[in-house]
């Protein structure tokens, strides 16, 4: 169904853009140097090395790339959720002037036609069937994006619709239609129905016996809506065919090597012939863990022999990546009169949608972190992920821990209410601490300042009452409804709520979660310079800033060059799970230490005989010099290095983890935990059901803030994404057709600057002795407790139960 056409010149083909020609596409990020006279090591708020490029508009994101003779790719997606494909006719599309190729499943070049992060269940292009709304069916390359869109619209696909399964009841019915027939993945053996991706029970102690001791038992059922990552830079990239028959992909992703492992087999190329370079990434938040347009662009480039760029628009982006799992959560908490938890039972049902993506790992997180940062000896937990015909769900910031935190924190408030205890005091009495045993049997072996974080966030001054009042009357911008001018304070009540959460850091359950760094040290223009080369995806988090800081601290240089991320160096693992500063930061630190040893050996060889300290003292590199730990200068690095370049590439690993037992959930599955607490202050217009979040204060333990400015920025950003799911963000999927109803920023709302309150942050630094510099991964924890704190505040203001998130006006006015 594919053919290559000679170039045509439609009326709207324009002159070539005024961009660089030849070689690498214009604007692929080149070397970023950060150098200054300041020391700029860890612990300082050094500024981003890519900051200037980003404020001048010169930083090249994946959607900005350009190549001479470049074509545009377009994907045709299924308009229905579940259907057999009876036929596909591409002839009209191919006949359109300017179209170079149209490809379907039948044109895939090898027997490998599926991909996936863990389970290879996702078709590169649909084969005989589509399983969700928006599934890719065919791809087009043309010389103008509008030509490509029009050609895709001319592809005739005959669908015969099938019934859909959309929730636990319909998916696990005995006669339910199977989303995937003939499953042979490694989870099928321990699930009770083929529409369950994975199940993880965790059983510890004796919940029945403990329940008998409880003075109060509180049950609750909760629903957590489907959230979108809504990163602003759309899925995009440029595939350039190479002379050796391979392809070079410039791409916005979270993990280059994971992409590579999935792309190369589909193309029928050895991995060394698929060269990957990270293009500028406009945010990620989990939504770029799975492949999007990577394989499609490469297929079209190899088929046409021309560079192919694909850029999703926002509508397509809502279909082009997985979302946060919606969840239904069932909880039972028991407690004694003196405010101690007796037991927790919970069941967490995650909707994974049509393909597995990261669902198994999300199940592992939701179950193992399912009761929160509390001491409970007797627990029964079960988490499952479903296969349904809803949009596929996978990774998003907080990854399974977010949904659970929303529910267990609501439960904690309910139990406190039953006992007549202050919610913070009740949490304090049950707060975990270092040494607590998790439901998985794993001891928490580093600081776990849960009670302290709550104390700190509670101690922050409250914003003034009636904060909207000004000398000129009510400022509607500070009120619920804002500029809609719906109230000047009438019907507005205030509420305050608290929540705290626990998130794991790094990949868990026995995954070999390593990273690689290559560090080079040499003299350039009379100065010692370090170059750090990793494959880490910088998605905005500031890893490049931190790498330069680590190199300065370890190697005593001011000039550090950050090499572009690509697959010419070993894997850095994923920019997710709050892991990159820990793991790739750890790899950079490790490689720097190895380089330092070689530099010192060079120094000893040349100068050792001049001073006994070369042999006897602990030696450091500081301020461009070799110094003793007593501060005595032994040599300039420039003299030690001379013409030599010292370079080391090395892998680095954190402590190994182990899988959770499939029956009991026991196992040392996690590397590290991360904790944050929030206090939300809201004002609610009870007549219209409108909410104004007035303040969202956060206290978080970060172990060690390598870059305090960036740390606070991460906490505020994560907090705001939690705010979004509390009061506005939800992908609405029609329960009858399983079609997405609101794939746009007009209908899927993320917080604007008017929706977002001030976010005071209190950073605690209690070192984790197992981690580099004592640091803790920080990116996700603030996304957990933000949502339940806002919900608690709204409950506090209104007295309503509110068992689902996001809260919409009809839930507050009684019209739901």
């Amino acid at each position: 169904m594919e053919s290559v056409r000679p170039p045509k010149s439609p009326g709207f083909q324009g002159t070539s853009p005024v961009l660089a020609r030849g070689g690498a596409p214009n604007g692929v990020p080149t070397k970023v140097t950060q150098g200054s006279q300041t020391k700029g090591g860890i612990g300082e708020s050094t500024l981003r090395p890519d900051g200037t490029l980003k404020v001048t508009g010169e930083f090249a994101y994946s959607s900005d790339l350009w190549h001479e003779d470049m074509l545009w790719g377009q994907i045709l997606r299924s308009p229905v959720a579940h259907a057999e494909i009876v036929s596909i006719d591409t002839s009209e599309a191919l006949a359109l002037p300017g179209v170079y190729a149209v490809m379907t499943y039948d044109d895939l070049p090898t027997d490998v036609k599926h991909y996936g992060l863990e389970i290879q269940d996702t078709p590169v292009l649909a084969h005989g069937k589509v399983r969700h709304h928006g599934e890719p069916v065919a791809i087009v390359a043309a010389d103008h994006p509008e030509t490509a869109r029009r050609a895709a619209a001319k592809i005739k696909v005959d669908y015969r619709e099938l019934p859909v399964v959309t929730d636990e009841k319909s998916a696990t019915a005995p006669d339910a239609i199977l989303v995937h027939e003939n499953r042979d993945d490694h989870h099928i053996g321990h699930v009770s129905h083929p529409n369950i991706v994975h199940r993880q029970p965790i059983v510890r102690g004796d919940a029945d016996a403990a329940a008998a001791r409880a003075d109060v038992i509180v049950k609750g059922e909760y629903y957590f809506g489907m959230q979108d990552q809504a990163f602003l830079g759309p899925e995009s990239g440029l595939a350039v065919p190479e002379e050796d028959g391979g392809v070079h992909l410039y791409i916005a992703t979270q993990w280059l090597h994971s992409d590579l492992r999935q792309i190369a087999p589909v193309l029928g190329l050895p991995e060394k012939k698929v060269r990957m370079t990270l293009a500028g990434v406009g945010g990620a938040f989990g939504g770029r863990e799975d492949l999007s347009m990577q394989i499609h662009a490469c297929l079209l480039a190899l088929r046409t022999g021309k560079p192919v760029k694909i850029v999703y628009n926002r509508f397509e982006s809502f279909f082009g990546h997985v979302h946060r799992h919606p969840a239904r959560l069932y909880y039972e908490h028991g407690a004694t009169r003196d405010g101690k938890l007796t037991h927790v039972r919970c069941r967490i049902v995650l909707d994974g949608g049509a393909y597995a993506s990261a669902s198994p790992a999300v199940v592992g997180n939701a179950s193992s972190l399912g009761i929160g940062p509390y001491v409970v000896d007797d627990v029964e937990i079960e988490a499952i992920a479903l296969y349904t015909n809803n949009p596929p769900c996978g990774a998003m910031r907080g990854f399974g821990a977010v949904q659970a935190c929303f529910a267990y924190e609501a439960q904690m408030d309910k139990v406190a209410g039953e006992l007549g205890l202050d919610p913070v005091e009740f949490r304090r009495r049950n707060a975990m601490e270092q040494g607590t045993i998790m439901p998985t049997g794993q001891p928490v072996d580093s600081p776990a300042p849960v009670a302290e974080l709550l104390r700190r966030v509670k101690a922050m001054p409250l914003p003034p009452e009636r904060q909207w009042e000004s000398s000129e009357g009510a400022d509607v911008r500070q009120l619920p409804g804002g500029l809609s001018n719906t109230t000047h304070g009438e019907g507005v009540v205030r509420g305050v709520g608290y929540a705290v959460g626990i998130k794991n850091v790094g990949f868990s359950e026995g995954f070999d979660d390593y990273s690689t760094a290559k560090v080079r040290m040499e003299v350039v223009a009379g100065q010692p310079v370090a170059t750090v080369h990793t494959a880490m995806a910088e998605v905005g988090q500031g890893g490049v800033t931190v790498h330069a800081q680590i190199a300065r601290t370890e190697l005593g240089v001011t000039q550090v060059t950050i090499h572009p991320a690509d697959t010419q160096v070993g894997s850095a693992g994923s920019t997710s799970a709050s892991r990159q500063t820990y793991v790739t930061g750890g790899a950079v630190k490790n490689a720097c230490e190895l380089v330092r040893e070689k530099v010192l050996a060079l120094g000893r060889r040349q100068f050792g005989s001049y001073h006994p300290a070369w042999a006897t003292a602990e030696l450091l590199l500081e301020g461009g010099k070799v110094v003793t730990d007593g501060g005595e200068v032994l040599a300039d690095l420039v003299d030690v290095l001379g013409d030599e370049a010292v370079e080391i590439e090395a892998e680095w690993r954190h402590r190994a983890t182990e899988p959770f037992d499939l029956r009991t959930g026991q196992g040392n599955g996690h590397v590290q935990y991360s904790f944050a607490a929030h206090r939300a202050v809201v004002e609610v217009d009870t007549e219209l059901g409108l909410v104004k979040v007035v303040e969202l204060a956060c206290a978080q333990d970060v172990g060690k803030a390598l870059n305090p400015l960036s740390v606070v920025g991460q906490i505020q950003g994560g907090t705001t994404q939690g705010l979004g799911i509390a009061v506005m963000e939800e992908i609405i999927v029609d329960p009858v057709t399983a079609k997405v109803r609101n794939p746009s920023f007009t209908d899927y709302l993320i917080p604007t600057i008017l929706d977002t309150p001030t976010i005071p942050v209190d950073v605690l630094e209690l070192a984790d002795d197992h981690a580099p510099y004592g640091l803790r991964g920080i990116g996700e924890a603030p996304t957990l407790s933000s949502t339940p704190a806002v919900l608690a505040a709204i409950r506090n203001a209104t007295g309503l139960e509110l068992n689902r998130t996001p809260v919409r006006p009809e839930h507050l006015t009684g019209n739901a």
């Binding site: 404020v55 350009w66 920025g713």
Partner: protein, 186 residues
């Protein structure tokens, strides 16, 4: 069709423009100015904000033909625009000395920046940076007519610009910083 307009003080001519192309597309794909961003292309996110005859607009919602004969300022021209404003020259006048000379092509360091650009870097208002160009154009325009904005003023002026990374706090800091530096004449 052919479209003639002025971009960042320089006359530009785009040929063979299809009538359906937006100003954003012509800037990004035909004039080599990809600084204005394409986050939603439906007027909701503000990442494509440019000045059109001085007025901030979503360039994704402006048909390229509507720009005929008009003055456009993008993030790429913001530093020059701010510099000319500080000299009292008419914004949009041809440039005497384009900035960028002596700039490190690898990092952009050494580039002359508008005060709002420098403030975004210094305050930590840039993470992924995709919203940054539109926010800079919008914030610069606000400070032009409101040099001493209240926090509520800043939020109102920037409410058409989505950011997904920062939670907006550092953006607030950056605008306050730029306003303070402006009032101190720094």
């Amino acid at each position: 069709m052919r479209v003639n307009f002025t971009v960042n003080g320089r006359p530009q001519e785009a040929d063979d423009v299809w009538e359906g192309e937006s100003l954003l597309y012509v800037l990004r794909e035909r004039l080599g100015l990809p600084g204005s961003k394409n986050a939603c292309e439906q007027g909701e996110c503000g990442s494509c904000t440019v000045r059109l005859d001085g007025v901030p607009v979503c360039s994704c919602l402006v048909a390229a033909g509507q720009a005929e004969g008009r003055e456009v300022v993008t993030v790429e021209g913001l530093a020059d625009y701010a510099r000319q404003r500080s000299w009292g020259a008419a914004p949009g006048a041809p440039l005497d000395s384009p900035s960028g000379e002596g700039t490190d092509s690898l990092t952009g360091e050494g580039a002359e920046l508008a005060p709002i650009q420098q403030a975004f870097i210094d305050a930590g208002a840039v993470q992924c940076g995709f919203c940054t160009p539109g926010l800079l154009v919008a914030a610069d325009e606000m400070l032009e007519h409101n040099p001493d904005p209240s926090d509520a003023d800043i939020r109102e002026a920037l409410s058409g610009n989505l950011c997904r990374c920062t939670g907006y706090e550092k953006i607030m800091d950056a605008v306050r910083l730029a306003a303070a530096r402006q009032s101190e004449g720094v």
